[in-house]
Symmetry: C2
Subunit: 342 residues, 2 copies
Amino acid sequence: MAVGGRRWIGLALVLSCAAAQPAWADAAAAADPLPSWREGRSKAAILRFVEQAAGTATQPAAIPPAERIAVFDHDGTLWSEQPLYGPLLYCIDRLRRLAPQHPHWRQQEPYASALRGDRAALIRQGPAALKTLLLAASSGLSSEAYAADVQRWIATARHPLSGRLQRQMVFQPMLELLRHLRAHGFRTYVVTGGDGAFLRPWSEAVYGIPLEQVIGSRLALAYQDQGAGPQLQRLPQLEALVDGPGKPVAIEQIIGRRPVAAFGNSDGDRQMLDWTTTGPGLRFGLLVHHTDGRREWAYDRQAAIGRLDQALDQAQRQGWTVVDMARDWRVVHPADNSAQHP
Amino acid sequence: MAVGGRRWIGLALVLSCAAAQPAWADAAAAADPLPSWREGRSKAAILRFVEQAAGTATQPAAIPPAERIAVFDHDGTLWSEQPLYGPLLYCIDRLRRLAPQHPHWRQQEPYASALRGDRAALIRQGPAALKTLLLAASSGLSSEAYAADVQRWIATARHPLSGRLQRQMVFQPMLELLRHLRAHGFRTYVVTGGDGAFLRPWSEAVYGIPLEQVIGSRLALAYQDQGAGPQLQRLPQLEALVDGPGKPVAIEQIIGRRPVAAFGNSDGDRQMLDWTTTGPGLRFGLLVHHTDGRREWAYDRQAAIGRLDQALDQAQRQGWTVVDMARDWRVVHPADNSAQHP
């Protein structure tokens, strides 16, 4: 319909922007930006921090926009990590596809357990075995070919226990928290011990986090030019393990600013939360405590995957917010499929 | 002045935004976004690329906003690098301040030449000697203390030959180019062989490039907590050398997107330009050729600092724009002090 006149262009733009999200989402967000969070101390602490950081009509912002950097762990903080980290579920799948070219894998650990899908045996073999799988499964191809392979996997892969799409194992309350922070001028980063190149191809679609704001463990890359144009080849060599003390180190090397808010769920996030919350001025630290054996998994001090022990004690001493998943979260995974989850 | 009525709020906002830069700058930019560039092939190629990339009223954008990544080398591309790279001038100054605690430096190379200010002797000793100076001068303190030290230095340090403030050795035409790209939705990054932590404290003030968009060579960091809160300590160990093939590698590891435009001036930028310009779709590569021995320095194939040899040949083959500094730039350094420069 032609309406003519210049001022209609402006109106059309306003309407088309508003249409970018459904009207009910707008209304709900105005009423409660964190609808999947039950009222309580955790939700109140988050809302209070964001309000103080970004300011209100009557109160100036405590944190200037350029410094509103919030860092999130991935496995166990933004999506479920049981019975095994998502990036390793991808590696197992890829090793199975590569296995015909490597017949000796059937007799050699940790490949043999991976090919049998024996996750418990893999976990018993420890971090060195998991690293071997990562290097074998995700090197030997170009960065671009790897990203395309991950894209294909995440489009259809299902979680081994719940049967849901793997990308729907994300936590609905954390999606709302990410949005709420960004709506108040925060830049949200993922800082993960998993391979950053595994998360980047889908971080924007699932979390609204552009790939350049994903910091993860890194395989070394080689620049190669054999006549058909340059390639960046993924080498079977870990350049950086972004876990534990490696998290604040990677944040400083890559972002170059000390974050003001940090979100994690395990001892591997302890130093990231410590580095973030001991800086000057207003700060916020939060741990997701997996207490919900009915809708997700319940684990902490004794867990082989996602151990939360020292960090839980430190949270008490340093006043970090500890989310009790069973009590604080009205919904765990995105609503549509929540009922089907064991 | 109270004018009342809702529509005046909109008008006030428009006026206050416009006031963010002086009216003359607006008018000049509208007339010519690159006033320090003389008319000619280089300027025309830049303007044409930006117009095609971002689109016009009659032509759709060739490159979506998320992919408008432009990468710039630093030394020799954004500021003068003769007679020695700026980050090393800082190192020499700092070594002199540290020298009283290291009496043996007076008898030991490359420290002895550095303390005497014998730049020619340092250059003769080659890259390994320059690396030794970098590690000695810029390790052994925390990231935060280092940033503060660099800030103090850049505030007052003067170039050893021109006598200008070191931070005014930047190229006025390149400042205009950075602004022009950003005005068309590009994100501008620096990708430098120098220590990224040296540039970050002042990149925003001088180039309008926020510190998280500075990618440079990196010293290893150690996370330390000796009771007084965590610190990131700079170690005398090079974690990454972001030069030559290290440039595309660092771009992929840190940004995770293949740039669409790359700007350099030496053989160390060759792979970055190659990686950028051989991607699919619209691409742009540019080399600054230092041809102006009167206003700056004239050097290329034989230079010990900033050699431009293989890359110059490759520019011919691959259609990169080669800026002839003497002919293409009306002004080299920012206008105020231009006349004082030898």
